[in-house]
């Protein structure tokens, strides 16, 4: 708790610095006059009679004002964040976004009190052009790809239909309220209500992210809410612009509405295409960065930002563009650039998005202190209520339909969290400022701020206890046993096989088609030649080595009454588990940790640090069966194993004779690995549990030496 007191101290220091420098300096400093001949040296402050004096010490604030203030704000934001994490029990109860808004409120209040005028507000341009892109880029780059695409249908369903439902519902009901409260709200027209509905209905990715990551729900739920908040940008932006342009038109016809509908599609797909284009160009560029590795990360950021700006320029969905760009270029960039560059990219992304997010929340707090508020009880209260009601009903209805088509149903508890986790944030805030001026604009601003604060504070703070209360299926803390993993994967393969027999086009069909295309064309074109054969084998080995060096400890206690020769060390257990969860093709894998802002967690999709493994000669083409999105190496026709070591193989598929002992013959071409395997069984049994961690490292490399 002592740490909690340091926060106000820090804040006050900052504030003083802030305030002292914000009032304009009245004293003109003549320091930029050239010293003339025959100078008189004066001591002290500006003197009246000396055009020829040489200033020994002077302060010129104007010169650096803009960057200075920006840096101070960022500093304030970062120190607040630090203070928050040091402050004992607070993070457990209050989500970071709330604390930051409170800090912003405090700062805003102080500034207002001192200057008696509104503190600087978050300008919509600054928000959309500078603060939002890093966050969305970070989200896109670390998006759990497979999970996202598996749930894409559901996510789109929620994003498009859900948003439409909310917008129309809130807009129309608010209009009803305005009609009822004719006296005070009579001049708010239907279009205004719809416009307001469009900006208030959208779930905000920034707010959702910041709250959900402190709450470890299962990944499917997380991706649903998060994916929805990302994709509904297209719908929101279009509807907003649509209603805004309707407001400017003298009249609105049915044709205009129809065109508006087309616009949604154009905006969404357009953003997607722009993102794809820039992503592919970025991937191509990264192919050639071997000679100038230091600037490789820069290309990632530049191209992403460019895609965002381009689509904003074309009035397409910038968020979709930047997310698509990040998702597209990620696998190729990671294969092309050096390990250090990869690390730089990841860290920079995390850093920028953290700073952005913090700034956004602080400014939200600061901007709340305004002169422009207009309060109206019926409007504000009904908006709050309607937002909740429409969201809840929307989620319920949509889920009822979509559950019929999904393999993993969205449970009622999940639905509650989806509905309750629909937080609003800075996007609404900026959009409301952009409305053309009309008498009730201030009312809209006030209401928006109230809704944002309510959702972030009330919903943000209570969602964690509610999750615990409802016992939402949390991310499994206890790791599954090895048996469970193996058998689960077997069942997954089995089901996929049965689906093929029955002719059921599951999710796998399109994934396979994409992987084929990816392997044939994209990877050849976009990845450096010498990096193309990098397969997941290397990654496994290096992953193991890295784990050894880091010395993770998670192993459950081994209950083993049998002889010591069977005991496996925790580190080995760990790596076994990781091998399994990484390499066994998993379709409904819920073990990957959800996207997290604050940590670069080591999961399969992000970890691509590679060290050259010496002694690795011919890495032939390796074929996986169900190609993952990440390592797409799709086999064409045949699989032959030049079965020297398990790691150096050229493989292709041959039609396997089924009724013989196929697994033995088809897999082990020449008989080498079998005897080798047998040979290895006995030494292993003889080597007791005294195997040190280093040993595991060595057995990995040893196996390569063997053949």
């Amino acid at each position: 708790m002592a740490a909690l007191w340091t926060l106000p101290l820090l804040l006050s220091a900052r504030l003083l610095g802030c305030l002292a420098l914000t009032p304009p300096d009245e004293l003109p400093q003549p320091h930029n006059l050239p010293p003339s001949l025959g100078f008189n040296i004066s001591h002290g402050g500006p003197s009246v009679d000396l055009p020829m004096a040489l200033r020994v010490f002077s302060v010129d604030y104007h010169h650096v004002q803009a960057p200075f203030e920006i840096v101070l704000w960022i500093m304030l934001a970062s120190l607040a964040k630090l203070g928050f994490h040091w402050s004992g029990r607070v993070p457990a109860v209050v989500p970071e976004s709330c604390v930051l808004i409170m800090v912003g409120l405090l700062v805003g209040g102080v500034i207002y009190g001192v200057r008696h005028s509104a503190p600087p507000t978050l300008s919509a341009d600054a928000f959309f052009l500078f603060l939002l892109p890093p966050i969305v880029l970070d989200a896109g780059y670390f998006l759990p790809g497979r999970l996202f695409f598996e749930n894409l249908g559901t996510i789109l369903w929620y994003a498009v239909l859900g948003t439409l439902w909310n917008v129309l519902g809130i807009g129309l009901s608010l209009y009803g309220v305005c009609l009822l409260a004719q006296s005070s709200l009579g001049d708010v027209s239907l279009l205004h209500c719809l416009l307001f509905g469009s900006l208030i209905a959208a779930v905000d990715p920034v707010a959702v992210l910041s709250v959900f990551q402190e709450m470890h729900v299962n990944e499917q739920l997380h991706i649903l809410v998060f994916g929805e908040s990302l994709l509904n940008d297209a719908v929101t932006v279009v509807l907003y612009k649509l209603f805004e342009s309707f407001l400017r038109l003298p009249s609105v016809s049915g044709l205009d509405v129809l065109l508006g509908g087309c616009r949604v599609v154009v905006v969404g797909l357009g953003g997607l295409c722009v993102g794809l284009f820039f992503g592919l160009v970025a991937a191509l560029t990264s192919r050639f960065t071997s000679k100038a590795q230091v600037i490789a990360p820069l290309f990632v950021f530049l191209y992403s930002y460019l895609s965002y700006l381009t689509s904003e320029m074309l009035h397409l969905s910038g968020i979709m563009a930047i997310v698509t760009c990040a998702v597209t270029m990620k696998q190729y960039v990671e294969a092309n650039v050096s390990e250090h560059s990869n690390t730089s990219i990841q860290y920079f992304l995390k850093m920028w998005s953290s700073v952005s997010e913090t700034l956004i929340f602080i400014f939200l707090g600061v901007s709340t202190i305004q002169d422009v508020h207009m309060w109206s009880w019926p409007f504000v209260c009904s908006t709050l209520l309607l937002c909740l009601i429409w969201r809840a009903t929307g989620v319920l209805l949509l889920t009822a339909v979509v559950n019929k088509l999904r393999r993993n149903a969205v449970t009622f508890r999940d639905q509650f969290i989806i509905a309750y986790g629909g937080l609003r944030g800075a996007i609404c805030f900026s959009l409301v400022f952009l409305i053309d001026d009309f008498p009730k604009k201030r009312l809209f601003i006030t209401t928006t701020i109230v809704v944002i604060l309510f959702t972030v504070f009330v919903q943000g703070m209570t969602i964690k206890p509610l999750v615990e209360l409802l016992d939402v299926k949390r991310k499994k803390r206890a790791l599954p046993t090895v048996s469970e993993e193996i058998h689960s994967r077997l069942i997954d393969h089995l089901l996929a096989g049965i689906e093929d027999v029955v002719g059921y086009w599951g999710q796998h069909y399109w994934k396979d088609k994409f992987e084929q295309f990816n392997k044939k064309y994209l990877r050849r074109f976009l990845i450096r030649e010498d990096h193309q054969a990098r397969s997941s084998i290397l990654r496994v080995y290096q992953e193991l080595e890295r784990r050894e060096q880091r010395g993770d400890e998670e192993a459950p206690p081994l209950v083993d009454p049998r002889s010591h020769s069977r005991l496996l060390l925790p580190e080995e257990m760990d790596s076994i588990r990781r091998i399994l969860s990484r390499n066994l093709q998993n379709f409904n894998n819920k073990q990957t940790p959800a996207y997290s802002r604050h940590t670069l967690h080591q999961d399969a999709t992000t970890d691509r640090t590679r060290k050259p493994l010496h002694r690795h000669q011919s890495l032939g083409e390796r074929r996986t069966h169900w190609p993952q999105m990440e390592d797409g190496e799709f086999s064409e026709s045949h699989r032959v194993r030049a079965g020297l070591s398990r790691s150096h193989t050229v493989c292709s598929i041959s039609p396997r004779p089924v009724l013989q002992d196929s697994s033995a013959t088809a897999q082990t071409g020449p008989a080498d690995p079998r005897p080798a395997g047998d040979d290895q069984v006995s030494p292993q049994h003889q080597v007791p549990a005294g195997r040190t961690p280093k040993k595991q490292l060595s057995f990995v490399l040893e196996n390569e030496k063997q053949q």
Binding site: V482, L490, I491, I498, Q684
Partner: protein, 197 residues
């Protein structure tokens, strides 16, 4: 593509099959159409090469085992009723049925949890001795992990799996031990194809 009753005439023993497996008439017709499609030579029964013609199955690591599972031991062809019976395992479990007590007169349906697990068990247990030996486990692991891990790692993994599951310490996994090791996994959901619903 419809489930006209005239199609049902082609299906031998349709009523009996429906009762036995729990498939509806529409499902049966759909499955019959698929069976027909797979049966390239119109023999009325499926052979090995018919299954192998399903290209995706060839790339499934356990594709051969799955195919083998369709063939009853000793037979070289699969007729339609056998086809349907195997697929009946993958019907979603009827939650209405009382799972607690088994009506003594009625055999457990093909898509009960136990029978689903038995099907999965048999994928491991190729020699049908009722136990998964270390070697059988290794074979499956090798198939699934392909060449991504070394032989030693495979051994460790198999080792660990047997350690965890083997309660009577006979170095093999019996069906009961198999069932127990999967008690936390939602088999009913996992081993069901919704399409067949």
């Amino acid at each position: 593509m419809g489930s006209s009753s005239s199609n049902m005439d082609h299906i031998p023993d349709a009523q009996h099959l429906m009762q036995e497996t729990g498939f509806s008439a529409a499902h049966l017709v759909r499955l019959y159409e698929r069976f027909d499609f797979l049966d390239k030579d119109d023999r009325g029964e499926l052979r090995l090469d018919d299954f192998e013609a399903v290209s995706e199955l060839a790339m499934n690591p356990i594709g051969d085992r799955i195919i083998r599972a369709f063939f009853s031991p000793g037979r070289e062809t699969v007729d339609f009723p056998s086809f349907v019976r195997i697929l009946a395992h993958f019907r979603p479990t009827d939650t209405n049925r009382t799972r607690n007590g088994r009506n003594g007169a009625q055999p457990e349906p093909a898509n009960s949890r136990t029978n689903k697990l038995k099907f999965a068990f048999q994928l491991y247990d190729q020699d049908r001795d009722g136990k998964i030996s270390r070697e059988e486990l290794l074979q499956v692991l090798r198939a699934m992990l392909e060449m991504q891990v070394t032989e030693e790692q495979l051994q460790s993994i198999a080792e660990r799996a047997i350690q965890e599951a083997d309660l009577d310490l006979d170095d093999t996994i019996s069906f009961d031990e198999f069932k127990k090791s999967l008690e936390k996994v939602d088999i009913e959901h996992k081993m069901s194809i919704r399409f067949l619903e």
